[in-house]
Symmetry: C2
């Protein structure tokens, strides 16, 4: 008997088995799994009622809230495809995505009205629904989200008729090197990734997950499935800041969350950290960008829980690795922080290799660099309407990630850079991440980004852009000397510039592309820019 593999089963199982269990906390609202499933079913009914048909895309412009989480199941119960949009994108970027994906409906929060007004005439969307309007007071449509679901009957997909190889969710890559591409994830991708995620993160019924990362982002959406599967509790956070996060951990007895490094840096440096009871925390997973041993240690010490890195891509549902010790590889002392800040080893259901330009494995010596390629249950179906880009990314049966890494004898990866961020100086590959990690260990450094700048003799050389911690002093010379005493001379930054902030994506990743532009824009073409990274 083959029961289709679809995330629809996760919420149905939780509804059947844990109906009275608290499922979602959002602001001051609380929902049990029975209520969560009832509302998701009504959303499905409402979508069908306003004309959504099987295979239609349904887009969301929303920060984390219980309604967006309901959509993760309700849109699928309606037979449609979930398309969560990054709320930090500009109107032009959203226009491009919405024309490409052509969703039938857009659901959005009132705060995004100005941006919706800016693109609505240029996109082929049939219906707009306001998510956070009070019932009866809606503005664009006769009904708001709450009005619609109150008037609808629950609609459930016929489980046995779901095609597990049809698209369930679509997310757009951040498009740092080209136009954003729509990543098609099948029901089967999402289901198996959810199960593998439960194993990877030891998710249990006691888990209370704080959704610190936006659900529209790779690092955020996996937990929407695995936490539901085990009957854990979802705690939503709308606008992330340190104080709100500490308050929610204390109030809801949060056991785990994911962070990007910039969030973790802000948290460990927050003066509020000592004022809250954080003893419920068990695990913090750092992803989205490279971490450092210093940061991992600080998080562990200040939060009193284990902290480790992980790695994934929009194209892989997203998780690929986890940086914890595994059977047969136990770590001691400071080595533990170093290893937990690495990229980690392949999660269950995933195979990872590091290959040279001919797709041959590089030696597992922890030094030789190649491109990470992946095969596994979470690897996407392909890019929406882009068969050539799909074939290029998935060549030889493996997804080519565009990330450069080494692999050690125990199967642990270390990402050294994105293909396009690697610095090539006098023919030597220099990892910007390695320099950043080195500088992050300096007591006066709050945050740092290393980029290549043009150099007549070497082609390019590394430059560090640094934010200092408040009330600390450090000079360019001191930081360069600090590096010279720790890493090879040719890898040291040739210059350091002090900034008061770094440009970031909606999910807190540093926008190196933007930082580079200032130095490369005078007609100089970076040779690496021709190397097409995947995202």
């Amino acid at each position: 008997m083959n029961v289709p593999l679809t995330p629809i089963r996760f919420l149905r199982y939780a509804e059947e088995q844990f109906p009275k269990k608290e499922a979602i906390v959002c602001r001051n609202e609380r929902y049990t799994y029975a209520q969560f499933a009832e509302r998701a079913g009504r959303l499905a009914g409402a979508l069908r009622k306003i004309g959504v048909e099987s295979g239609d895309r349904v887009a969301f412009l929303s920060v984390n809230c219980h309604r967006l989480l309901e959509a993760y199941y309700g849109v699928l119960e309606a037979g449609a495809v979930l398309l969560p949009l990054n709320v930090r994108l500009a109107a032009a970027e959203l226009t491009y995505i919405l024309r490409d994906a052509s969703p039938k409906v857009l659901l959005f929060e009132k705060v995004f009205l100005p941006i919706v007004d800016a693109f609505r005439a240029q996109v082929p969307i049939e219906k707009f629904v306001l998510m956070d309007e009070q019932p009866g007071s809606s503005w664009l449509l006769p009904n708001s989200y709450e009005d619609l679901i109150a008037a609808a009957s629950p609609h459930r997909a016929d489980l046995m008729q779901v095609d597990e190889n049809s698209i369930a969710e679509m997310f757009y890559t951040s498009g740092t090197s080209a136009n954003p591409k729509g990543v098609m994830l099948s029901h089967r991708n999402i289901y198996l990734h959810g199960l593998n995620g439960c194993l990877t993160f030891d998710a249990t019924r006691e888990h209370v997950h704080l959704h610190t990362i936006p659900l529209f982002h790779a690092n955020g959406w996996g937990s929407a499935h695995s936490i539901t599967m085990v009957g854990g509790k979802h705690v939503m956070i709308q606008k992330w800041d340190c104080g709100e996060m500490f308050r929610l951990i204390e109030r809801e007895r949060v056991t785990g969350c994911a962070l990007v490094p910039t969030m973790a840096i802000a948290l460990v440096n927050s003066p509020e950290i000592g004022k809250h009871d954080l003893s419920s925390l068990q695990r913090i997973n750092i992803g989205g960008a490279a971490s450092s041993p210093t940061l991992v240690r600080e998080v562990e010490e200040k939060f009193g829980c284990i902290c480790y890195a992980g790695y994934g891509l929009t194209e892989t549902s997203p998780v690929l690795t986890i940086a914890i010790s595994k059977p047969g590889c136990e770590w001691e002392g400071d080595d533990r922080y170093r290893k937990q800040a690495m990229t980690g080893y392949a999660m269950p259901g995933t195979e990872l290799r590091v290959v040279d330009a001919n797709d041959n494995d590089v030696p597992h010596d922890g030094r030789t660099i190649g491109e990470v390629v992946a095969r596994g249950d979470g690897v996407m179906m392909g890019y929406w309407n882009q068969p050539e880009a799909t074939a290029q990314a998935m060549r030889n049966g493996w997804l080519h990630t565009g990330d450069l890494a080494s692999m050690d004898e125990n199967g642990y990866l270390l990402i050294v850079d994105r293909k396009k961020d690697i610095i090539i100086s006098g023919g030597e590959n220099i990892s910007s991440l390695e320099i950043e990690k080195t500088l992050a260990a300096h007591p006066a450094v709050y945050e740092v980004a290393v980029i290549p700048v043009p150099d007549e003799k070497w082609g390019e050389t590394p430059k560090a852009l640094v934010i200092r911690k408040p009330e600390t002093e450090v000079t360019e010379r001191e930081l360069i000397d600090f590096c010279a005493s720790r890493i090879a001379h040719y890898k040291c930054p040739r210059s350091v510039e002090f900034l008061s902030s770094l440009p970031k994506t909606g999910t807190g990743k540093i926008l190196k592309r933007e930082l580079r532009e200032k130095y490369w824009k005078q007609g100089t073409i970076r040779p690496e820019m021709a190397v097409e990274g995947k995202k």
Copy 2:
């Protein structure tokens, strides 16, 4: 990207990620995951070399040992179908199964030579291989298992070419009511059941599993997959007895195992229990037959770990339920023992219903009895060469288990009997299991089976067959009165007979069919015998 779901991936993942981790302990031999995978690969090569082709069945007549565990992966790497045989069956039963399944090869241990000699002329097997002969000294064939794998090159299946919907394993039902039927489990069945099993039993890398149940039995084989998946340790036990079990728990720091009730009864009554360090134990799962609150409490108290029941079938890969508390249903005090001795709730990946004769759900009131039906990832493909029996069992899209149960408002099942074991007295359904549980709570009762016996007035009435604990005294009258003070009068046994042993299957299940025969054989036909149970 769809990577085929096959248990082959479990051992490959463990080999890749945990090569140096100790995987198997068998007698005084120890193997790492690298060695386990190497030997499984060589077994695949050896099988191909002696003519095994894709889809061929490869049968095993073996108690638990590392070679049988290797076969769980090696046979599949060869593209063949694993067919483990119950070693307690008689020659005639094995002949029937081997003619039905027509395996190309039989691998067996020397101790089973007399039985192999008894059927070998009547079965279409091409090759016989002795499993436990020392290299170079083999008897039936030029080579023994060890000779064969030493001479073979490892063979690996092309993972992406495996058909996840082809048969991976075949097991025969015990055939208590008809000829045994071959249950076909697909690669996908086994893979998903393995993942769901990891979630159900919180399997982690630290798990040390003692294989107390024969791997050829439903209750035993699931752990061959889930423990491998997480990189736990397999500890093999050849001939189960209390002393050997205590010694292995102490020596290997065993964390979990499965027991059938008769084994659990023997263990808690063993005089050796206080002489060993059992502190590593975390979980004991009782399955294969109904448990009792008394037994669950005794196991917990004497082993110092959690003990709970579970339920499954050969047809369901096998696990369907686990009797632990779930989110939203916490138990306190003695209620915990009662609930943990129940059948439990549906494991992840599984839906269970209790239905009436028209396949309509009975009320979830904890009282109304119906038949258990199941839908899920572990439900078999069907019975080998029996399309009609398959269609009958899988009618309306659900597997009909032949087990009668009630379901409470929280989704917990309580099996009241096999369809064929229920006692119908004066039109009332009486659960033999309920009477057995009641009598099991009497301090002088070691073990008990309740069966229907003919009665002129009532059609049939319950009779208890009891083994007394050593050095205790109790009379028939006292036991009937004990029941009368605890359960309804019409349910009380009308007679009690004291025996010194009860007939059991190879896996410790009491053979009620055999017990009944004595009372029904004089031409009296039990009306229930016409009700065809599934197994």
